[in-house]
Symmetry: C2
Subunit: 301 residues, 2 copies
């Protein structure tokens, strides 16, 4: 009975603890992960993100296993085992001049492929066609290939949010993440959006307070202002700032020529801001502490 009460008490207090407290920080600490998506996609993405890692303020990222430049970022991961690198599980291929497809045998994941044999262009098309069993096969194959190349992922997220598009896909995602004992990009602030989120999560799952990202409504001239304001207003708890780094070079312009949103110039603006002294000062002035998914992963039993 005492044991039962103790366990119950432990569960209750864990439920009441914030994620900041579970990590050992005060409840009012402002904790930030500065996370670059889309590693492996293109040389420009890899080169800019590695440069930003070296500059010291971008401290996390996630890798797209099906993409052509995986080997380059896998070599970086092997040489930098302390780097906070997760997998950006990929079920879409969104640029029209430059495409990729599955890691698993394509005749076993036909529900994931468009008429040309690549992943679908959009997350809504991908989710509408995806057989969850085939999704499980493919994302497991992506994790296995990453591990075979010497990447030890610290977390999982989902390129273009495909795995959050419906409950069936999200359950596959959670099941795979739990079996791998890896934390997943999920935020408390999302709980009102896809209504299936709270019911699929367990009290033991590790999730953060919020994510933060720029969007198409922000004009290029307001890039720094958007991020500066967001940092000044940062609330206590764990925030993941989701960014997209690359150089505005020929390769990225070729890939994103018809799509300025998340395009070459967009990614260069992100690179410029997150490697700037202005960003460094903002973090200091606002008492923001950088943390990583590696710390969050240690909370998983």
């Amino acid at each position: 009975m005492l044991l039962f009460l103790t366990l119950l008490h432990g569960a209750e207090s864990r439920a009441q603890q914030t994620i900041a407290e579970r990590l050992g920080y005060p409840r009012d600490a402002k904790l930030l992960i500065v996370h670059a998506d889309d590693l492996g996609m293109a040389h420009s993405v890899n080169a800019a993100t590695i440069k930003a890692f070296e500059a010291g303020l971008v401290n996390s990222g996630s890798i797209m296993v099906p993409c052509p430049w995986l080997s380059e970022i896998a070599a970086y991961a092997r040489s930098n085992p302390q780097a906070d690198l997760g997998l950006h599980l990929t079920l879409t291929s969104e640029w029209i001049s430059f495409r990729w497809g599955p890691v698993s045998p394509r005749d076993r994941v036909t529900s994931l492929l468009d008429k040309d044999g690549y992943f679908y262009l959009t997350e809504s098309e991908a989710a509408a066609h995806a057989d969850p069993k085939q999704v499980e096969l493919e994302i497991t194959a992506q994790i296995e290939r990453a591990r075979a190349l010497g990447i030890q992922p610290t977390h999982l997220d989902s390129h273009m949010g495909t795995l959050y598009q419906n409950k069936d896909l999200f359950e596959v995602f959670l099941r795979v993440a739990r079996s791998q004992k890896l934390p997943v990009r999920v935020a408390k602030t999302w709980f009102t959006r896809p209504d299936f989120l709270p019911s699929t999560l367990n009290p033991d799952d590790v999730y953060i307070d919020r994510t933060l990202d720029i969007n198409q409504s922000v004009p290029a001239s307001d890039w720094s202002k958007f991020y500066s304001d967001a940092i000044k207003k940062l609330e206590p708890g764990v925030t993941e700032l989701v960014i997209h780094l690359a150089y505005d070079d020929a390769e990225m312009r070729g890939a994103t020529f018809n799509h300025p949103d998340w395009g070459a110039a967009w990614r260069q603006r992100d690179f410029d801001f997150f490697t700037s002294d202005a960003f460094r000062k903002l973090l200091q002035e606002n008492q923001i502490k950088l943390i990583t998914w590696r710390e969050l992963g240690k909370l998983i039993k």
Copy 2:
């Protein structure tokens, strides 16, 4: 009997005719195909080669179907149906930071894959492991994907020469090419090298007199001299000048960082020479006529 003699006479005279004569040119005509390999591999390759096509002196090229930038060059092919584009059938993935794999389901072409699930790095590894039945499946899938994307190939060749590495592979290559009624890059001057070549070819097969390409022994400073000398000494008949175009930019440097041979600067030198006025003048001064694989393909019954 008369018919038999006529047929025999036809076969004999065709056997005695040079390929130049079969094309309707005088026996002493100097006919040249200026052919850029590796389309689809990278944006830099596509962009430089399209620019060279537009400059007018590079008049043929071949496409790597398994590579990430296939869609970009397929769009060019659909918009430019007169372009002389073939398929550069691909069974190797030679850059270590940047890789690709099969078009067919990977569990059905396991003999073509290295331990990381990509094509082998070298043509000798690829040929040593390749099951000819799986090669036939894969190159047929490459041709089918190209056609599905609206590419109407005028010819076939083999990236890094993998399909010429042994008789079994070459027989697969010829069988597929004959069934597609497409000419294959084969030259009479090669007949002394792989000794299986003459015995596998039929009198009806279309092949050219020689190929010509630069190699690692030529220092960068002698690039123009090598090509100029070769053009001045060009022998009568059909020659294919096999070149590799790209810009010396970040993407190509990233791909070829450890491999200056056929690397970024090499390809920029090729681009510079084959879009130059010097090359145009050399063609004029030496009475060289440009022809394409499309003309050669018309000889196939």
